[in-house]
Symmetry: C2
Subunit: 341 residues, 2 copies
DNA sequence: ATTAACCTTGCAATCGATTGCAAGTGCAAT
DNA sequence: ATTGCACTTGCAATCGATTGCAAGGTTAAT
């Protein structure tokens, strides 16, 4: 219908075109009640016709907010790498969806700054209305301190003592329990745990792993809990070293799918078959889990839900209401690698 | 040394503290030559001490730029999914690095808008100084039109006729050639091509695939070129269907590693061994390629370099100099899946 | 006809940083 | 002592949108 005209750049331009003041145009475009219905319709049509797009910086300056949320991924501090776990990408997608639905943009934060006072005045924080942290890792104190300085944040992670920030997280305890119980039910006796327990999420999964042993009346052997870093490259080295050690096990519970896939490959390299000799269970259910060989049994985290819940919580926090903590259900997905018939 | 004081929020605050005008503070913090060396040092120290952080919106409004670059991922139009290919995440990391080095922030664009006039006035474009598109897919015309409207963009992809935008890309022709030659050298005779050739990058890889056949004096059979969608879920279905068809082949060249991993799994499901019965080569060398089973032979794209080159090109474009097109070298990484000795 | 109430619009200040221009200072050369 | 110049600093306009307040117009009730 209405063909797009040449771009019009400011409210003033539109106002001049329509012969009104820019205050009126502003009210029209913001659906203010202080304006005549017909005037509003006309101005909105005019804006559309001329392809007007608001200048967010001016608006942001005036309103002291900018419709941008930052997302920061917390990595295993031992690696200076980028996140390469597809889990992050899927989480990013979930969050992006939630933000788009609420008319917010997503600013991706670079590797988190270590220094607290730096972070609070960093671009990531200053350039956005709030920050979503994915994973809390060992930065618990820093997160607390941010909140204390009045920054709006929400964290994907697990519960920790003395926590000042709102939390959204998977059911790590239940996930660890379900994965381990499944292996125990399949008759496995010596189940190894692979993961970095300094991350609270993994610590909770480990507790679930121990609880499952308790319920089954079997001892969880401490020597079968291994500290494996989260990033792919370090994980592979670490796992190879473990397989060369004298410990033997007939199953492995890994705190991520990438780790599980690396483990399966390493097991193959030393001549062990999956799941005949060693059953493997992962965590996350990244989309590659179902297409790898053998298909990976894993604990599925509901990422799309997680993304939108994180966003809702943060927006609540931004609007001044402290959000409640929320746990997202997890679900064991059984595939070939876990040795269940 | 200097402990952080309570936050100070504007240039004016700092100016009052120091007893100078805010113009002077502004000049000091921007290393303007129009200022006394001692004054500058003092003011910079004061700013640091009070943890001052500039208001980007105000600065952006005044300077008409905002130190933000948007990144948009172009997906196979047949899927409405999010990107799940780890390649995207690694590329995102590379770009993020490049931007951080140049003091730019990264805004993640939501699923690309279809409508051209919409896109040009969309938040993605209006909220940033430029846009990096990863993949051009079938949106060539839209990209041209954006440039024609004066938007700064750079595209990761492959060359196409009548192109108005600057391009950075891998050596798809060479990559396709190397992968296929490698399979031919290993004695494979019937090599299938899996990929969506509507994407120019994949089309170039297919041409490389054909050229390799030509050089070897072997016919590339048209019935062995299959249209496989890029997203994991559709790819798996599609591959399963192909394997049920009557076509036989002793090797597959896939246009992505995720596709290759899915293919290996599907081959296993119908009782074919990799690489004994069918050799497989992927593309990208995502970090899972080396840890999957069997380890994947693939064409490595130098992502970190790609990221920083994309950024450099875009920044050049932003500063008014049209950048030259750049091709990033690719390299065949031979692993177990390809049936070489 | 007068008054009050309401509805609609415009005026002008404001958010925080940048920058052209003017003004003030100090120093050296005449 | 005067002039000129270089060096520093401040003044005030500016970027584009929002909003409290005032002003104009309309309507209805008395």
């Amino acid at each position: 219908m209405t063909k797009a005209e040449e771009r019009v750049s400011s409210l003033q331009d539109l106002a001049d075109l329509a012969g009104v003041s820019r205050a009126t145009v502003s009210r029209a475009l913001n659906d203010s009640p202080l304006i005549n219905e017909k005037t509003r319709k006309n101005l909105q049509a005019l804006a559309r016709k001329h392809n007007y797009a608001i200048n967010q910086q001016a608006r942001g300056l005036r309103l002291n907010r900018n419709q941008i949320v930052s997302v920061a991924f917390m990595l295993d501090t031992r690696s200076d790498q980028h996140p390469s776990d597809p889990f992050f990408l899927e989480m990013l997608g979930g969050i992006a969806d939630g933000l788009a639905k609420n008319d917010y943009d997503l600013l991706l934060a670079q590797t988190p700054v270590r220094n607290i006072s730096e972070l609070a005045s960093s671009r990531v924080v200053r350039n956005s209305d709030g920050v979503i942290f994915v994973g809390q890792n060992e930065e618990h104190q820093m997160l607390n301190s941010l909140v204390d300085q009045g920054v709006n944040i929400v964290v994907w992670g697990a519960d920790v003592d003395d926590r000042h920030y709102p939390l959204v997280g998977g059911d790590n305890l239940g996930g660890g329990y379900a994965a381990t119980s499944h292996l125990l039910d399949a008759g496995r006796q010596r189940i190894a745990f692979f993961g970095n327990r300094r991350s609270p999420e993994n610590a909770a999964r480990h507790t679930g792993y121990q609880n499952a042993h308790l319920s089954a009346g079997i001892a969880a052997l401490p020597e079968l809990t291994f500290d494996v870093p989260s990033d792919t490259q370090h994980a592979l080295d670490s796992i190879a070293a473990i397989l060369e050690s004298s410990q033997h096990f007939d199953a492995i519970f890994c705190t991520s799918d990438v780790m599980a896939i690396a483990a399966i490959s390493a097991l193959g390299a030393v001549g062990l078959r999956v799941p005949e000799d060693v059953a493997v269970v992962g965590y996350d259910d990244i989309s590659l889990a179902s297409t790898s060989s053998p298909p990976l049994t894993t604990v599925r985290q509901n990422i799309p839900t997680a993304g939108s819940v994180l966003v809702e919580s943060l927006l609540q926090s931004i609007s001044g209401n402290p959000p409640a903590d929320i746990t997202i259900k997890s679900e064991l997905v059984i595939r070939q690698s876990s040795g269940a018939s």
